[in-house]
């Protein structure tokens, strides 16, 4: 893997993001309603003021011009102002980004930590009761509506047993790590749940495949201890394809946060997204969607790189 390749990939994301911006802009502007509707019912905003705002926001110009202006401004970091709060979009989003990264990041690692051992176990004990049990559990995970599970866990942990807070990111006035972790526990668990299921299934099939390959059989035939074979040789190779899937799902975790954050009153970008949608706050919405796409595209590149790093046979030029 060369620096050249990295550069090439990075450059390749630019047309992709441009395409994304075109699609998003189209979706928002073809839909009924405009950002000006916020003031539709507001008698204190005169027609004159409306027209002025329209000009200021460039809404009086033809769509292609609007798009070009927006996209140049966006890629040069001018994200404009929120219609709902009149604050800069950058401020709005940056305030909300950290909580989502904390939540998304921890549930990502939580899911990984649980999914990989489960997948390996399932593969090693293929067709055993353990395997069926794990399979069944992981299918349960992808079949349960998130908000449903969340409500049950809240009632159990916060009301019945009173051992965890039911919502929010911190106890007011407390800034300790323990407090954050206590608040993080339930939402991170919920968000991780669905991914544990998917990933452990994937890990299982990847592991099964590796275990049936010649070099593993050779290693076993050579008399290497079973555990050593499984954990040193097979696991490493089985992880390679899993890395790709897992990395790609990271962006998915972030978007899953839309629901989790609403339930757990978590102050992240997922909730900002919902509020902005209710407020038809187009500048914030566009910026959030672009950011989400950017995260997806970047994790894509990272997945490839990780893939290459894990498997010395893969070379990119």
């Amino acid at each position: 893997m060369t620096l050249n390749y990295l550069l090439k990939r990075m450059l390749g994301t630019i047309p992709l993001l441009l395409g994304v911006s075109l699609v998003l802009f189209g979706v928002l502007h073809l839909a009924p309603g405009t950002p000006m509707d916020v003031y539709a019912d507001n008698p204190s905003v005169s027609q004159e003021a409306l027209d002025q705002m329209k000009v200021a926001l460039g809404l009086d110009q033809p769509l292609p011009v609007q798009y070009t202006k927006w996209v140049t401004a966006f890629f040069t970091g001018e994200w404009g102002y929120s219609i709902r709060t009149a604050r800069p979009v950058v401020t709005e989003i940056s305030e909300r980004l950290w909580p989502t990264i904390v939540l998304g990041g921890s549930s990502f690692f939580l899911a990984l930590l649980v999914a990989v051992p489960l997948g390996v176990l399932s593969a090693v004990r293929r067709y055993s009761a353990t395997d069926y049990g794990i399979t069944f559990m992981s299918f349960l995970g992808i079949s349960m509506p998130v908000f449903w599970l969340a409500l049950m866990l809240q009632l159990l942990f916060a009301v019945q047993w009173r051992i965890l807070p039911s919502a929010g990111m911190q106890t007011i006035g407390e800034n300790s790590l323990v407090d954050l972790l206590r608040h993080l526990a339930l939402p991170a668990l919920i968000l991780a749940f669905a991914n544990v299921a998917g990933w452990s299934r994937y890990m299982r099939s990847s592991m099964v495949e590796v275990l049936s390959q010649d070099y593993v059989r050779t290693a076993k035939a050579k008399g290497l201890p079973h555990n050593k074979v499984v954990y040193r040789h097979a696991l490493r190779n089985a992880l390679i394809p899993v890395i790709t899937v897992v990395a790609l799902d990271f962006a998915g975790i972030l978007s899953g946060a839309v629901i989790t954050e609403t339930i757990f009153a978590w102050p992240g970008i997922g909730r900002l997204f919902i509020e902005s949608m209710n407020g038809r706050d187009y500048p914030v919405l566009l910026a959030l969607m672009m950011l989400g796409s950017f995260a997806l595209v970047i994790t894509n590149v990272l997945a490839d790189l990780a893939y290459a790093a894990a498997d010395p046979r893969i070379r990119y030029d």
């Binding site: 047309p15 992709l16 993001l17 395409g19 994304v20 075109l22 699609v23 998003l24 979706v27 928002l28 839909a31 009924p32 309603g33 399979t135 299918f139 349960l140 992808i142 079949s143 349960m144 509506p145 998130v146 908000f147 449903w148 409500l151 009632l155 669905a194 991914n195 299921a197 998917g198 299934r201 994937y202 099939s205 899937v245 799902d249 962006a251 998915g252 972030l254 978007s255 899953g256 839309v258 629901i259 609403t262 997204f273 919902i274 949608m277 209710n278 919405l285 959030l288 969607m289 989400g292 796409s293 995260a295 997806l296 595209v297 894509n300």
Partner: protein
């Protein structure tokens, strides 16, 4: 929604000894969970279709004597009644109609779109391929759940529209899959042969190549049914799904959530329905994957 690992495109080998269909059946029936899944789905489908025959109530019939207080399950109402005095079983049955149609129809739309786009790209290659695949990449680069929320938030959808939205935003995986299959299959001898015999492009694509590429597509369609049902319930939670009084499992679950302690039965049954259906779909998908995998 979690997309299960899509299998890498696998060339399907046509064997002489046994027809693919028989081989498929032989492998499939060995997969017990898949069979159970299929059974559950068929049962659900039949129950949904026969809803008017299975229950003496209508889905929006309110009993004004008990309105305001949900009643626990009883002889007359095996799943109890909801806060408007409606029979919960009836609503779950009618909900099955909507939820299953949303799941199945949107999965079919996504599959059709994806197959068409993938087939065109893989068959014609060149600039058509580049154009279609770049477009696929672009749509794939937009986070799905927020996009669906955004679109259904802007146009509060009817059932039909909801199906179209979920379908129209879920074809990309299939398109990539089908393209991969087409790229490899189009070089096969039998395709060359039919081309030499003057078969039209459409005929070659859909009569000769597609049947051999269909395996993984079937699996991904099956799984998409489950994802769509889950997506509908997520939208219902955000108040963007199908609007009551038309019942769906998602909106039943959502409106039951505020009765979770007072009337838990209202939430238990639709929750179980979603659970069983998605579970069944996934088992079925798993079975199909195994059965359609030529390595077995």
């Amino acid at each position: 929604m979690t997309e299960l690992s899509s299998p890498a495109p696998v060339p399907v080998r046509v064997t002489r000894t046994e027809s693919p269909w028989r081989r498929f059946l032989r492998t499939f029936v060995k997969h017990k969970l898949a069979l159970i899944g299929l059974g559950v789905l068929v049962l659900m489908g039949v129950a949904a279709l026969l809803a008017p025959q299975l229950t003496p109530y209508t889905f929006d019939g309110q009993d004004l004597d008990i309105i305001g207080t949900p009643q626990p399950p009883s002889r007359a109402h095996p799943m109890g009644t909801d806060e408007l005095g409606r029979d919960a079983l009836t609503r779950v049955l009618y909900g099955a109609r909507i939820s299953l149609s949303v799941g199945i129809s949107s999965a079919l739309i996504a599959t059709l779109l994806g197959t068409l786009i993938g087939a065109l790209a893989g068959y014609y290659r060149g600039w058509i391929d580049t154009l279609l695949m770049r477009f696929t990449d672009v749509v794939l680069s937009i986070p799905l759940l927020p996009l669906v929320i955004l679109v259904s938030g802007m146009i509060r959808p009817s059932v039909t529209l909801l199906i179209c939205i979920i379908g129209a935003l879920g074809w990309m995986g299939t398109a990539r899959l089908v393209r991969g299959q087409f790229l490899s299959l189009r070089e096969r001898e039998y395709v060359e042969a039919s081309r030499a015999l003057g078969g039209s492009h459409g005929r070659i694509m859909f009569r000769h190549i597609l049947p051999n590429a269909i395996g993984p597509v079937v699996v991904s369609t099956t799984l998409a049914v489950g994802s769509a049902i889950m997506l509908e319930s997520a939208l219902s939670f955000l108040g963007l799904g199908v609007q009551p009084p038309t019942p769906t499992w998602g909106n039943l679950l959502n409106s039951a959530s505020q009765w979770l302690q007072g009337a838990p039965w209202l939430a238990v049954f639709p929750g179980l329905m979603i659970l069983f259906t998605v579970l069944a779909v996934n088992f079925l998908g798993d079975g199909l994957r195994d059965a359609l995998d030529p390595r077995n």
